[in-house]
């Protein structure tokens, strides 16, 4: 991979007691790429997300975003740098309406301070109008306009997954981390999701790192895939290479998953 590297993991290891959840992982993601991260359960995929977003600091190694180290920074500071994420187990702000969920994530771009908010200054009103307009646009793009005033907890499951994406986009990220966005979706919904991911990637000039178990989705939209097993990167390549890689097949324990991988193409 050559050219403009957006995110670089440089020999990253994280150890919890005696367990190396991620071991000596090196991974580069170029600007504008859509990279898949797959592996069996417990392989350390979500741990990689938690490392990149600052939930954990690596025991060893560096994480560079746009050439600057971000390891050890707080999650909110990393989000401000331009990395946002969705969560595998949906984590919406359940009591707030969809619009508020998106507005909260747009928060980091607000310029009005606390005094502006309390005194309702012009600067606050301008800011608020911008935030509301942007939230409206994102809800529209994700097909959630009809739900704008519904509390997030009352949304159907598929819409909750979409709201997670809308919310992550509201922070105007340059790198979007999607953690199993297709989990629990039916085949039509995951088809729509594939188009949606491709659409938002182009529309917002995003780079996307995607964790997904649905091989149809991963093989369908990623041009490059990295495979983790027991915290170690065991393969990296195009969907075609990954599908036939013997180490990957072995990691997924043989025939059954082999068939799954095959069906994806």
């Amino acid at each position: 991979m050559t050219g403009d590297v957006l995110l670089e993991l440089d020999h990253v290891t994280i150890q919890f007691g005696g367990l190396k959840a991620v071991a000596d992982l090196t991974l580069q993601i170029g600007r504008g790429e859509l990279v898949g991260l797959i592996g069996p359960n417990g392989a350390g995929k979500t741990t990689v997300f938690n490392l990149v977003t600052g939930v954990y600091a690596p025991t060893v190694g560096r994480i560079l975003f746009e050439g600057r180290p971000i390891q050890g920074m707080k999650p909110h500071a990393i989000a401000r740098r331009g990395i946002t994420r969705t969560f595998q187990n949906i984590r919406l702000f359940a009591s707030r309406c969809c619009r508020d969920n998106v507005c909260i994530a747009a928060h980091q771009h607000a310029r009005a301070g606390l005094a502006d908010a309390v005194l309702r200054t012009r600067r606050f009103e301008d800011d608020e109008r911008d935030i509301q307009r942007r939230a409206g646009e994102l809800l529209e793009i994700l097909g959630l306009s009809a739900w704008a005033d519904t509390p997030a907890a009352e949304l159907p499951y598929g819409q909750q997954r979409r709201l997670e994406i809308a919310r992550a986009l509201a922070g105007r990220p340059r790198l979007l981390l999607l953690d199993e966005p297709a989990a629990g979706l039916n085949p039509q919904e995951s088809d729509q999701l594939m188009h949606l991911i491709e659409d938002i990637r182009q529309r917002f000039h995003l780079t996307i790192l995607l964790i997904e178990h649905d091989m149809r989705v991963v093989m369908g939209i990623c041009r490059r895939i990295a495979v983790l097993d027991y915290g170690v990167r065991i393969a990296e390549g195009t969907p075609g290479q990954i599908r036939t890689d013997p180490r990957v097949i072995e990691a997924y324990l043989g025939e059954e998953v082999h068939a799954d991988l095959g069906a994806g193409g």
Binding site: T53, V55, K74, P75, H76, A77, A79, R80, T84, R85, F87, R91, L92, F93, A94, S95, R96, D100, C103, I104, A105, A106, H107, Q108, A110, A112, L114, A117, V118, L119, R120, F124, D127, E128, I131, R167, A168, A170, G171
Partner: protein, 330 residues
């Protein structure tokens, strides 16, 4: 322009009530109104911490005590002298006292806010039960210190505080804390607080500096608790450490929970109800507190989300309800 009109309107109403209320009400009822006001300030300020941000603090009486004693000490040792000097210079008594009181209240509030910051910074890394215990410990430490420091009267209490508080000042405090809470709730900062309450991990991942916002809520809540304490001190003219026990904190928490966590108007309503209820129940004598507790239990069973739940009482909401009830097909 509209804001100036609003402010002028509120001030006119407060001044008018300040003149008429003491004539309309007997001293007992008037005192109840003032105590309702002080409890409203306490409940609405604690709602910023427990309701908006979802951090369980049970040290509110400690912040109130700091504000009460801080402002009282200022008035006794500095403020009184200034008022005498101003009055000697032919400044009207109301103005001189108002000026000294305002300074005392601000100082009391700032002292509490500072304590809120110092307690908040390390302890807000803790969650749930652990934070509750730290704040409980803080409140008790403040009370025990006051009980043992002779300079503030120790367990005998602190008498002779100038009684500068009238209805106007209590009303102004109530208006200020409600105004701040409502405007905060409908802003990006308020949304950040709600986000922390709903899911701290997600809020952090989306760029909300959760530690700063928790400290902010704590400092604001402590400031107004201190102001409430200052009003309390300058209304009763006497302070006693027993007014600021752990039970006082629990009383304020009961108001916030009963009103509906996060609802400003709910906290106001519940503060008034819970202040008046023990008084209304006086005729039943010995069974008063039994009945009070029983009514609390019944209320919480029938409305676990609180009187107003998450909502705010507003004109728009009321008219919407009426329209829905009046013309169902429209």
């Amino acid at each position: 322009m509209r804001r100036t009109l609003w402010l002028a309107g509120v001030l006119v109403v407060l001044v008018a009530l300040n003149v008429t209320l003491p004539q309309l009400l007997n001293p007992y009822l008037f005192q109840m109104v003032v105590l309702c006001g002080i409890n409203v300030i306490l409940a609405v300020s604690l709602n910023l911490v427990n309701g908006f941000t979802g951090q369980f603090s049970i040290g509110h009486a400690g912040f109130m005590a700091l504000g009460a004693y801080g402002s009282a000490m200022f008035s006794l040792h500095v403020g009184q002298g200034w008022v005498a000097a101003l009055e000697a210079a032919h400044v009207p008594g109301v103005v001189a006292q108002g000026f000294a009181l305002l300074l005392a209240l601000l100082l009391g509030g700032l002292l509490s806010a500072l304590a809120g910051y110092l307690v908040g910074l390390p302890s807000l890394r803790l969650r749930g039960d652990y934070l509750a215990i730290v704040t409980l410990g803080f409140g008790e430490i403040i009370r025990v210190i006051i009980t043992n420091v002779d300079a503030v009267g120790a367990s005998r209490g602190l008498p002779g505080i100038p009684g500068w508080v009238n209805f106007f000042w209590v009303g102004l405090g109530v208006a200020a804390v409600i105004f701040l809470s409502l405007n905060l709730a409908r802003s990006t900062h308020g949304r950040a607080l709600f986000a922390i309450r709903d899911d701290e991990v997600a809020a952090e991942a989306l760029g909300v500096d959760t530690t700063s916002y928790k400290v902010l809520a704590f400092v604001l809540g402590a400031f107004f608790a201190g102001v409430a304490g200052g009003l309390f001190a300058h209304y009763l003219s006497y302070l006693n450490p027993n007014s600021f026990t752990f039970l006082k904190s629990i009383e304020v928490i009961a108001m916030v929970v009963l009103g509906g966590l996060g609802s400003v108007s709910g906290a106001v309503l519940a503060a008034v109800v819970l202040t008046l209820l023990p008084e209304v129940l006086r005729p039943v004598k010995d069974y008063r507190m039994v009945l009070y507790s029983f009514m609390l239990i019944v209320l919480m069973i029938t409305r676990p989300q609180g009187l107003l739940g998450n909502r705010e009482l507003s004109l728009a909401w009321l008219t919407r309800r009426r329209r829905r009830a009046g013309a169902p097909s429209a």
